[in-house]
Amino acid sequence: MIRVRVSPEPIDLAAEHARVERGGAVATFTGLVRADDGVEELTLEHYPGATEAALERLAEEATARWSLAAATIVHRVGAMRPGERIVFVAACAPHRAAALEACAFLIDRLKIDAPFWKRERRGTEARWVEQRDGDRGAAARWD
């Protein structure tokens, strides 16, 4: 079962986790707005339509590759504050190795394959976040 959601609503982790519990092992990754680097607000822009399609393809690829019982990708868009959840990905499989690997795959590939852009605001200064070199490397290990 694949679930993809892109929304300005806060991520309901308990509900999303319960939804993906369809086998013996569930692995999740949650990305949060870091509270320790002076950012007061983070805004996520995305490419409506293309984003959802990219996330669907990603969840389908993980499901086929690791025979998942369920895969979920929930990404928040719009403005959020330090400590809030930006993204939640989860993979459910009969055994843990598949769930853990698929979860890492989902977040590594989401970072380079899905059309989202982050803008940070500190006081009156706003800047677009640059892609990290490490993100391409982390995603490439799944090629």
Partner: protein, 83 residues
């Protein structure tokens, strides 16, 4: 043809969407970008550094040398930073 801009590409151009009619013979994304860059200062600034520019044709990520024949929607944007 519909052209979409995101993030700082959108901010520099001053709009997120344009309807454009590039000249016949505009074969690739790169050629479209060359033509769009001539539309004004904002466009020129947005497209000054092609190494930081990414594209999608009809919502599929492509490289800048990809063809645009028959495309209904081309999107231009910086490297993605989600997750």
């Amino acid at each position: 043809m519909r052209v979409l801009y995101f993030a700082w590409v959108r901010e520099r151009i001053g709009t997120g969407e344009e309807q454009v009619d590039p000249p016949a013979g505009t074969a690739t994304v790169a050629a479209l970008v060359d033509w769009l860059a001539g539309r004004g200062e904002g466009h020129a600034a947005a497209f000054a550094d092609r190494t930081r520019l990414r594209a999608a044709v009809d919502q599929v990520f492509v490289s800048l040398d990809a063809p645009i024949a028959g495309a209904r929607e081309v999107a231009l944007f910086p490297p993605v930073t989600g997750g």
